[in-house]
Amino acid sequence: MTNAAPTTGEGAFRSLTFEGLRHAYGEGEDAVQAVRDLDLHLEAGEFVTVLGPSGCGKSTLFNLASGLAESTPGQVLINGEPIAGMNPHTAYMFQHDALLEWRTVLDNVALGREFLGMSKKEARADLRDSLADFGLEGFADRHPAELSGGMRQRVALMRTYATDRPLLLLDEPFGALDAMTRVRMQEFLLRKWDQDHRTVLFITHDVDEAILLGDRLVVLSHRPATVREEIKVDLPRPRRADQLASDPRYVELRAHVMSLLHDPVEQGVSA
């Protein structure tokens, strides 16, 4: 796998910007405002975590970033230019691994590349050798049903990585895993990220996860989603969950984020 995302050249990804983003579902009186006046800017190579209550429109944010959902012109910018059609830089990963049960591990990993239009052979070319990077060596020809939850998520992560897209949209990717596996996957993702610094927009509702992973942490409000606070996570990398737990700065950040989530004003808005 060519691990390096395109960082140079004219078509390279440099930034993603939401500017006064608004989005509603439905029309007229039934319209549900999902996002209102949301501002967010990502530079290439940044790891930004998005923290917010369930159903606050986080997934809408992703669909607007990828171009799957149509945005009001001028509110979603790529490299400073308004997005036109699909964003050619994004690749998704979800809470549910969404692996195809009839495909082997290798074929699942190649799926994204096939979607990009590569031939089957081309798509698999260097993937077999890269399985080891994701802790999947020896499992190329197994089926998803034979794998543990953590392994399945690594297959899904590798499938997303293998698209070589520079902007990863990770939608609560570890949300369905048990606590121990989740910590392992978080540290695994951090190591992967250290290798090629792709841009990551990571949705979660786990405060610890948001602090452990992100360069910046964005706390969203209840629906309609808007940025309540953007917090710079000034903890040195590489980070490890077990070492952070007793770090005074981490404890401080965590307390601050928790207080934001329990803000009485916020409760009032949601009620």
């Binding site: 669909n63 990828s66 171009g67 799957l68 699909m86 964003n87 050619p88 994004t90 690749a91 998704y92 979800f94 549910h96 969404a98 195809l100 049960e101 009839w102 799926l111 994204g112 096939e114 979607f115 990009l116 239009g117 080891a132 802790g135 999947l136 060596e137 020896g138 089926h143 049903a145 543990s148 953590g150 392994m151 690594r154 997303t160 698209t163 897209r165 949209l169 596996t181 392992r184 996957m185 540290e187 695994f188 190591r191």
Partner: protein, 294 residues
């Protein structure tokens, strides 16, 4: 550091306990495989042994009732009479079974094709679904067998009206299963694909079709058990040849062993079709879990 589920924190690729790294199974794995095989053998014995026992018991009961004279042989022939008829009259049975088999084959080919086509159209298009799904369900309430005599009037005594009835019976379960199968696709895979620019065509063949196949086979199994019965009942209403025609003639001649012989053959055809579909299912969708396998 190696963690329990094979994750490495250091680049050194060492085997985690219990996980094959270079293809060589560990001792524990070999033992587990042996245990699995022995369990499977026991499961196989239960799967085929038990039904065989029940079948033997039922045959025994039948022999007891008929040979013992508890039920008159005018109504219930002995198993031996039926067996004798199956051997002695095999030419007659074969001549009629051939026609019934042809009706089933044609009806199945047309019914399955139409069911898949219609199911995909309705399953992928919300407008079509709203317009056609109620009609589809309604069509199943049509008393087709009651209409069979009219079909004979329209299409003659040949195989055409029987094929139409087999098509009508098979069409419904296949269509419903196809629609359900298309709905069972993971929405996330579709989002993943679309965001990478995959066409609807690509998503259809790479994701939707394989994902719907286990459901389609569920529908095919139901259809396969109906098909033979539908053909035979269609033949009741007017046919020159076919197992249904043979049964009505034998019945009016009080040739009860032939009626029972025909029933045995129809049953075997139905079972054969079901097995055929099950075999095909195992070939086409080996990944799907099968709880209803025989």
């Amino acid at each position: 550091m190696i963690t329990a589920d094979g994750l490495q924190t250091a680049p050194a690729p060492t085997a985690a306990p219990g996980e094959p790294r270079d293809g060589a199974p560990t001792e524990a794995e070999r033992r587990a495989a042996l245990r699995r095989r022995s369990r499977r053998r026991k499961a196989t014995a239960t799967r085929y042994g038990l039904p065989a026992l029940v079948l033997l018991a039922l045959l025994g009961l039948w022999a007891l009732l008929s040979v013992g004279g508890i039920v008159s042989d005018l109504v219930l022939p002995t198993p031996f009479e039926v067996a004798k008829s199956l051997v002695d009259d095999r030419a007659v049975y074969w001549m009629n079974a051939r026609v019934t088999l042809l009706e089933i084959a044609l009806g199945a080919a047309i019914g399955v094709s139409l069911g898949l086509l219609f199911g995909v159209m309705v399953g992928l298009n919300r407008g079509l679904r709203a317009a056609l799904y109620p009609l589809l369900v309604g069509s199943q309430s049509l008393p087709v067998l009651a209409l069979a005599p009219i079909l004979v009037l329209w299409l003659g005594f040949g195989i055409a009206p029987k094929v139409v009835i087999v098509v009508q019976i098979i069409f419904f379960p296949v269509t419903v299963a196809t629609i359900q199968g298309l709905g069972a696709v993971s929405a996330e895979v579709l989002v993943f694909g679309r965001s990478l620019g995959a066409s609807a065509w690509t998503l259809f063949w790479k994701v939707r079709v394989p994902a719907m196949m286990p459901h389609v086979f569920g529908g095919l199994k139901i259809a396969s058990s109906y098909a033979a019965v539908a053909a035979v009942i269609a033949e009741y209403t007017g046919a020159e040849k076919g197992l249904g025609a043979l049964m009505t003639r034998a019945n009016s001649d009080y040739n009860i062993p032939v009626v029972f012989g025909s029933v045995v053959i129809v049953t075997v055809i139905g079972l054969g079709l079901f097995l055929l579909v099950s075999l095909l299912e195992r070939r086409v969708t080996p990944w799907a879990r099968r709880a209803d396998e025989i």
